[in-house]
Amino acid sequence: MSLLDVRAISKRFGALKAVDGVSFQVGPGQICGFIGPNGAGKTTTMRICSTLELPDEGDVLVDGQSVLSEPRDARRRIGFMPDSYGAYTSTTIFEYLDFFARAYGLRGERRREVLARVIEFTGLGELTDKEIASLSKGMKQRLCLAKTLLHDPPVMILDEPAAGLDPRARVELRELVKALAQMGKAILISSHILTELAEMCSSVVVIERGQLKGGGVLADVVRSVQPTTTLFLRALEGPAACERTLLELRGVSKVRLERDGVCFEFEGDASQQAALFAQLASSGLRPLELAQQGQNLEDLFLSLTEGKLQ
């Protein structure tokens, strides 16, 4: 079952086809990375999913509600954090969140409870009386996330939430997003910081010039584009000995020296990989470190996209 079901949506702006027949799904508890070069149509797709733009063709179902025929019902189920959002001047954090809580129809004790919970979750507790204008970028992002969470939507769409954040704020945001996924929310997140996405996404959608270039569970997509696994080996005998040994083994390719070890590509499934480890141990090498490199979204992105602009 998918909470966000994008069905062949297209959108034109004059002569430019910003989105061209894009379809994908995001299920509960899934964090789906939405990647593509600048001007690929990511923001337009996200705005269509959030009812802010209308598709010329196709439809989007948010928890079963069409953004076209029942936009109000769809909006109740969606939390959208735009890349550039506005904040009311002369308003404190509490007043800002209180306004949106009222707008979402939260009343009385329930509103106070929700506000307290969301403020605690996003770590804004000590700043509630601060005017928004005086907040740092990281705190503003937290505030926007807090606003997005007020009505407890099952689907969350985060457009470049980490843009402009310092490393600490990025780590904190990543942990918040992971926590939200653990609550069973379907999360579609776009970012240009692909290493960030790789660490939290379970699936990925790649788009370029408005067209879908690939998508699905991250490991499957990576395997489809890149059939080999990248491994790193460091042994007591040094990188040169590692290289010699590896070149004699079947399934190993692209061996290259890196830091005080070697990186190499290995083609094979999990059992063949286990057999490789056993062979290495029996070859006389004394491994200090043998690790699988993270699924490289940057490589995936470069393989799937052509870098053309529109």
């Binding site: 802010l52 936009p71 506005g86 306004f99 009343r107």
Partner: protein, 495 residues
């Protein structure tokens, strides 16, 4: 404890926009600066008048001057600063990039518009409360009587609400900054003019208070209040339509209000005939409401033809009800049906007055024909270009272009013969009342003259062309409503 619970319950029911806007206004610089500035100026003026009166002795003239000056300050605040603040508050939603957040918050567009209006009215009430002691003081100085104060407060408050709605509607028209700056300048001019009118009216009421006891004063005040509320309602509907989702119904509210406008004019015309025997009101009012109606017809006729997926789902499953509601549903063809309905109502209004015993039948007969002919012109100038435009794509830019062409068509048609007369040296063409002028039939109503055969032929041909051009879109519009009704029935039966 109960009082606290009641207060909390009341707080919960408040419009969120009202709460936000009042908080922002009270903390913001605009309201605080202008409030204290107005109060300071009023106090200084008051003190100087009192000092003047102290040295020369108080009399009615001093009291009137004091009242007029205080009114000037109060009107500047409630008819100037407050509506301008409503314009800026709505404009800020585009400028500060918060409009998307409002849409996502699922607030209904009417909650947004009325929240902003209520916030502006709260600010206006703060001004009224502040100026209350000054007005009482003016009364104690024999400068003005209570009836005059009451009438001025009532009319200014109603005008304030209407101007606030105009400001909100104008600011909601365009998300782009450049057109909004132009709209802001236009709105500023409108506010200056309304301030000038209000000062003139206050002068009239203050210096001729006996006029308020004239039998015609009450109808005039009622007409003003009802007119302001209706026009304000139209502005509100316009703003609501602008802030609605593209697939939502942006038209029905405006359409219902446009019918209310004709009905109010009809009732008022009948009342004037029955109460005062003024037959001219019956058709005069129908002509007066033509000004806003033509703008609305222009809007309706140039709407995209299709219902939209969201609206189609909510068409009545009963075919008869669906057809009856068709003129009130969005779509250019259905707009033409609504225009015909308005015209039928307008003619019925004059006919109804004609049935009143003792009414001036000769004048009303001429008025009936004159009104029908003006309506024929409206069909020609609006429905022919709109009908042709409906053959092409319903893109927004094309619809805007059609509206601009139509707006430009009438002045061109009116000015062309006199200009040609001037260029070609034909003195008989220099008259503005010629057969291309939509107000030409009124000449006949006033002078009793009738159309020539050629004029009749041109009018008949053009009106027929308008009807022929629009018949297919009307038929398609009605068919679409019936199809939506059928689809809803089949959905219900499948469930």
């Amino acid at each position: 404890m109960n009082a606290l619970a009641a207060a909390r319950s009341f707080d919960d029911r408040l419009n969120p926009i009202l709460v936000k806007e009042v908080r922002q206004a009270l903390r913001g610089r605009y309201f605080r600066t202008l409030f204290w500035l107005t109060l300071g100026v009023a106090t200084l003026i008051g003190l100087s008048i009192v000092a003047e009166a102290g040295s020369r002795g108080a009399n009615m003239g001093v009291g009137r001057t004091f009242f007029m000056l205080m009114n000037g300050c109060l009107f500047a605040a409630v008819l100037g600063f407050t509506p301008f603040s409503a314009f800026l508050a709505t404009s800020a939603e585009w400028d500060e990039n918060t409009h998307d957040l409002l849409v996502l918050s699922n607030l209904r567009p009417r909650q947004i518009v009325y929240g902003k209006l209520l916030s502006a009215l709260v600010q206006a009430l703060l001004y009224y409360a502040t100026f209350g002691p000054f007005l009482v003081f003016a009364f104690l100085m024999n400068g003005v009587d209570l009836l005059s104060i009451g009438v001025l407060l009532l009319t200014s408050f109603v005008a304030c609400a209407t101007l606030n709605l105009l400001g909100i509607a104008m600011a909601s028209l365009s998300p782009a900054k450049a057109p909004r700056v132009l709209l802001m300048a236009l709105f500023g001019v409108a506010l200056m003019m309304s301030w000038g009118f209000s000062i003139s009216f206050a002068t009239f009421v203050t210096y001729q208070p006996h006029e308020l006891r004239d039998p015609m004063a009450l109808p005039a005040i009622v007409a003003f209040v009802v007119g302001c509320l209706l026009v304000g309602g139209l502005f509100a509907s316009l703003a609501i339509a602008r802030l609605s989702h593209d697939e939502e119904n942006r038209s029905s509210g405006l359409r219902a209000l446009s019918v209310a406008l004709v009905l109010v004019a009809t009732v008022f015309g009948l009342w004037m005939e029955l109460e005062f025997g003024h037959s001219e009101f019956a058709w005069g009012l129908q002509l007066a409401v033509l000004v806003p109606l033509v703008m609305l017809w222009l809007h309706f006729l140039c709407e995209p033809e299709t219902l939209g997926r969201h609206v189609a789902r909510h068409v009545s499953p009963r075919p008869a009800l669906a057809l009856l509601s068709a003129p009130f549903l969005p779509g250019g063809g259905r707009g033409a049906v609504l225009m015909a309905l308005h015209m039928a109502l307008g003619l019925s209004a004059v006919l109804a007055v004609r049935l009143v015993p003792g009414s001036d039948k000769t004048e009303l007969n001429r008025a009936l024909i004159g009104l029908a002919l003006v309506y024929a012109y409206v069909w020609i100038y609006l429905a022919i270009p709109a009908g042709i435009a409906s053959w092409f794509s319903p893109k927004l830019s094309r619809r805007v272009l059609t509206r601009l062409v139509i707006i430009g068509l009438v002045p061109v048609a009116v000015l062309l013969p006199p200009l040609l007369g001037l260029v070609l040296g034909i003195p008989s063409w220099l008259d503005f009342m010629h057969p291309l002028n939509p107000m030409y039939p009124l000449k006949g109503v006033i002078s009793g003259s009738s159309f020539s055969r050629v004029e009749k032929l041109w009018l008949l041909t053009a009106a027929l062309a308008a009807i022929v051009l629009n018949t297919p879109r009307i038929a398609r519009g009605l068919q679409e409503v019936l199809a939506a009704s059928r689809a809803r029935r089949s959905r219900a039966s499948s469930v």
